[in-house]
Symmetry: C2
Subunit: 323 residues, 2 copies
């Protein structure tokens, strides 16, 4: 990595204390030197957040640091991986000490909680803040959760509640008003998503397919269906909605938001009939909800129904970066 930014990197990143025994050489050489555990497979993810696109440029930098890592760890969770290492590429308009300190606080607080070490980085100058994080984790051979394993008859589940981050974004953009006492809750759901690492690991021998929800349930479940060459029937009245969502939106808008808004970073996964009981027993010990919302079908496509059997019409899809 170019050496000229080393003052920055040294000061803010290399100083952090967490040291894993499988990191032979971290920040400060041309590359990191790592000893992967023998007999495990590696899961590698990379994700970028751009100021003004994925977060407000003026947003709390501690939250940005948290979220930049959280979206990567969420990808690892969706693969059933145990997180280990992360590398950071940071493009900044200026070397702002206050911003960097807060960014690191958010990043490292989450990293420490999951035993993740920052093993390298590249800090560059540019006209806009761009944060790329690349995370790696381990999974036993053959046990990674994939998108292509869903089978007709599988139950479809999601963790947590859906649509909160989407509502928070609508509030921030002035499109929704009057959320009152839910303001803080919603903002936390948008800015501090919790990657479902423990749930992903628990699903290794349980789920046939999994994905994390970054672009909205309808679109992300669509990726599972496409890769698995299957369809799904969802009962939209089963979608897990928070008290905040139910209080601030009418029922149709709440369901639409839960189906289409992004940034939830919950897991969506499918479980074969013979493991449903074990899954539901297991999930009782989770620190988040786990809700059965439908079933995988042989017939392709996503079908949405109300509890009374009528069709639910969805009039918009997830956010597309190049729409």
């Amino acid at each position: 990595m170019p050496g000229s930014e080393f003052t920055l990197i040294d000061r803010y990143f290399a100083a952090h204390e967490l040291r894993r025994s499988d990191v032979m050489l971290g920040i400060g050489d041309d590359g990191a030197l790592l000893a992967p555990p023998s007999g495990q497979q590696l899961v590698v993810t990379i994700d970028t957040l751009v100021a003004g696109v994925h977060f407000f440029a003026a947003a709390d930098p501690e939250g940005i640091g948290h979220k930049a890592l959280a979206v990567n760890l969420s990808d690892l969770a969706a693969m059933g991986a145990t997180p280990a290492w992360v590398a950071l590429a940071l493009t900044l308009p200026e070397a702002d000490d206050v911003w960097l300190e807060a960014f690191c606080r958010g990043l490292f607080a989450l990293a420490d909680r999951h035993g993740v070490q920052l093993i390298g980085g590249d800090t560059t100058h540019g006209p806009v803040t761009v944060i790329t994080l690349q995370a790696q984790g381990f999974v036993p051979p053959g046990l990674a959760l994939r998108r292509d394993g869903a089978k007709p008859g599988d139950s479809v589940y999601v963790t947590g509640t859906l649509g909160d981050a989407g509502l928070a974004l609508a509030v921030a953009l002035g499109r929704v008003e009057g959320v009152g006492s839910y303001q803080n809750y919603l903002q936390m759901r948008l800015e501090r998503p919790e990657p479902r690492i423990a749930q992903g690991r628990a699903l290794r021998e349980m789920a046939n397919a999994a994905i994390d929800l970054s672009d909205g349930l309808a679109q992300d479940l669509g990726h599972i269906l496409e890769r698995s060459k299957a369809g799904a029937r969802l009962e939209v009245d089963r979608l897990p909605l928070s008290p905040a969502l139910l209080a601030c939106l009418d029922q149709h808008a709440a369901i639409t938001t839960a189906l289409t808004s992004g940034d939830d970073y919950e897991l969506c996964f499918t479980v074969p009939p013979e493991r449903v009981e074990r899954l539901e027993h297991l999930a009782m010990r989770w620190d988040c909800r786990c809700t059965r919302i439908g079933v995988i079908t042989a017939e392709p496509g996503l079908q949405l129904f109300r509890a009374d059997g009528s069709v639910f019409r969805l009039d918009r899809s997830g956010y597309d970066h190049f729409a």
Copy 2:
């Protein structure tokens, strides 16, 4: 990784043919699934190129694709690693088919030559083109080249010639004129650096320390000296200069450029006395020059001398992103 950009990623990146047997799952899931070779260590690098900072926004996209990968592979070379996998985070102002096709052509041509597979990516929208590549390679335990191993008495070597990319940049910025027939050569040296992978591998059991030259010899060798708690004496008349550099600059300017200009992506390394003969024998088979330019000293600091023993005074240092 967010799914919304999948059309882009699928079309340009996933379609490429090279498939390594250690990639269980490449582009198209939440993460890549990889089987690292048992008993090897992993080397991980990450590097960012920003339009208008690291390359001209209007530059040939094929060259940009080449260089974005080359600077990462150069880091792997400097660690003595054999490259294997690369992940790409691409931020673009618009989805420009012509640009993307040429970018991929440059990226994949170099990747294929080194047996490197693109295992994942994230394409996002942003106001400026930002390219982050993260590359991984393997090295046998204990044999990685590091910056901290230089010992007093080691000979200091560099591969190739120095300063060509710096001169090419000066030409592009209109600061140097009249390069005549050297124009093409210089442009290739700036836009198409060749990562010294074979040399890096050959140095595994030969060099005490190594670094790749991205920010200029004086600054990059300085990182070896700092980490190794040592100094160096260089004889600047030994610096390997191309006919282009010698033809276009006076001697003092040529040496200064070779010492301070960036983007050479050659290797600088140190070899203990007992291995110098073997190294020089080995290097005769290389496809680039290998030049002894000085010696590591116990006394800290970088001392520069002319052939007649007089001190060479250096009046500027390498490029600093936040200078």
